[in-house]
């Protein structure tokens, strides 16, 4: 885990994103412990090389290969002399630096297909610049506030099981249920499932509610003229349907006298309850 996460307890010799090495002696005698810290403070040969170049304000596009290679080799030699396990990448970089240096010493520079002179340092410079770009990006990324580290998330309690949950039903569920009924009804031909205008059924229930408890209402009271002609028609059909199904009784003492409406059997219902009370 230590290799992945620094718990913040890093000594002054090796800062994470700042200048990595500030207290090293220049005579290159480095105590093995300090060297280990030094080694660990670099993220690899590119990082070390970049450090050497940047420390001297060298133009990265015109690296003095002899000087830089010599410095790099001194660090690598010191690490090897201290018998520190040196990652193979450091040695690979050393070989590459020496190769570039020797190619620069050749009298005729190599030439590309287009005839341009190829600087043997070009690929190294590209890699150094790309690495430096990412190094900076990592630094900026690390400065962004992080959940948990730099700010906390809100978590208010929601006691879920406090109330028994009732199933949700959507109109689509009703449709599905009806499809099931239909499918069965088709098979059993004797089931006649009629399709009626729903608003009539709704109005039928509404009228029965108005008449609940044996109430008598004037016929006109069933009609809400403010809500438009279609509803008046629907209400009238609903009344006819209720009469036909013997749910309501419509009475009129004589012609042109007020028409009254009541639920069928409302009287008997009341009588029934009276009898029960008396018993």
């Amino acid at each position: 885990m230590n290799a992945v996460v620094d718990a913040g307890a890093v000594d002054a010799v090796a800062h994470l994103f700042g200048e990595p090495v500030t207290e090293l002696p220049h005579d290159l005698y480095i105590p093995p412990d300090a060297l280990r810290v030094l080694l660990e403070s670099f993220e690899g040969p590119l990082d070390l090389l970049l450090y050497l170049i940047r420390r001297q304000n060298i133009d990265i596009l015109d690296i003095p290969m002899a000087a830089v290679t010599a410095q790099y080799m001194q660090y690598v030699d010191a690490m090897q002399a201290s018998r520190l396990e040196l990652a193979a990448e450091y040695l690979l970089m050393a070989a590459m630096l020496i190769e570039i240096k020797s190619r620069l010493l050749l009298p005729r520079p190599s030439v590309s297909d287009e005839g341009d002179e190829l600087d043997p340092r070009a690929e190294l410079v590209r890699r150094l610049l790309e690495y430096e770009q990412i190094k900076l990006a990592a630094y900026e990324l690390d400065r962004l506030p992080q959940a948990g580290r730099d700010f906390q998330l809100v978590a208010v309690l929601f006691e879920k099981e406090a109330v028994v949950r009732l199933p949700d039903v959507s109109p689509a569920d009703l449709r599905q249920a009806w499809l099931g009924i239909l499918a069965r009804a088709r098979r059993q031909q004797h089931h006649k499932v009629q399709l009626e205008a729903l608003s009539v059924r709704e109005q039928m229930s509404h009228i029965l509610r108005l008449l609940a408890g044996g109430r008598y209402l004037p016929f006109e009271a069933l009609f809400d003229t403010a809500r438009g002609v279609p509803l008046l028609v629907v209400t009238f059909i609903a009344v006819l349907e209720l009469v036909k199904e013997k749910h309501i009784v419509v009475t009129q003492d004589e012609g042109y006298a007020p028409i009254y409406v009541r639920q069928a059997g409302a009287d008997t219902a009341r009588e029934g309850s009276l009898v029960e009370q008396g018993a």
């Binding site: 906390q152 998330l153 809100v154 978590a155 208010v156 309690l157 929601f158 006691e159 879920k160 406090a162 109330v163 949950r165 009732l166 199933p167 949700d168 039903v169 959507s170 109109p171 689509a172 569920d173 009703l174 449709r175 599905q176 249920a177 009806w178 499809l179 099931g180 009924i181 239909l182 499918a183 069965r184 009804a185 088709r186 098979r187 059993q188 089931h191 499932v193 399709l195 009626e196 729903l198 608003s199 059924r201 709704e202 039928m204 229930s205 029965l208 509610r209 008449l211 609940a212 199904e245 013997k246 749910h247 639920q263 069928a264 059997g265 219902a269």
Partner: protein, 198 residues
């Protein structure tokens, strides 16, 4: 007025409440006053904290979340009335009505007012009392009258509450039955339904 007022000015009180609120909102467990004290380099007294917490709880009146004092400390929690909404977000195995309940409900919705006998005739099986009772208790159906036939059976209809719960402004908003006829094929394998399958 109180002793507290003489020592903490309004800006200080507002700041303390802001920190207390943030700490309680991010806390995963109730925070006792002793813990809340640790928030501050110069902690207020327990009495001052309790007064501030009471004010904070009061400020949350009428919101969907409340600040309550429990045996183990202060904590924010969702109010009970928020439960129906919040549960929609956590649909871990939502309870479902059986097909018998759904068909009964559909018949009452589409054919109201109907008697239980008429429902049984359409479904082809007995309708258990438990189904009717469950729908009545949910206040989705009620008795709107009695049919004038022997036994005077109840006439069942859906309620305003049913429409509200389904987000309908009226029964005419229900999926129209006329279009449904072509969507189904006759059931090939007729599995007899148990009589009491609520």
């Amino acid at each position: 007025m109180s002793e507290l007022d003489s020592r903490l000015d309004e800006a200080e009180r507002a700041h303390l409440k802001k920190v207390l609120e943030a700490a309680l909102l991010v806390a995963s467990e109730p925070l006792p006053v002793a813990t809340l004290k640790q928030l501050f380099a110069v902690p207020p007294s327990a009495a001052q904290l309790n007064e501030l917490l009471d004010e904070l709880a009061h400020a949350w009146n009428g919101r969907g979340v409340e600040l309550v004092r429990l045996a183990s400390g202060w904590r924010f929690r969702a109010r009970l009335e928020m439960q129906p909404y919040l549960e929609r977000l956590n649909p871990d195995k939502p309870p479902r009505y059986s097909r018998a309940v759904m068909e009964t409900l559909a018949i009452i919705a589409y054919k109201q007012p109907v008697t239980r006998g008429e429902i049984e005739e359409i479904r082809g099986v007995t309708v258990s009392s438990a189904i009717i009772q469950a729908l009545k208790e949910r206040d989705w159906i009620d008795v709107v009258g009695h049919k004038e036939v022997p036994g005077r059976p109840e006439l069942l209809a859906t309620t305003r509450h049913f429409l509200d719960d389904l987000g309908l402004s009226g029964l005419s908003d229900l999926p129209p039955l006329a279009e449904l006829g072509n969507l189904v094929l006759p059931q090939a394998d007729a599995v007899p339904e148990p009589a009491n399958d609520a």
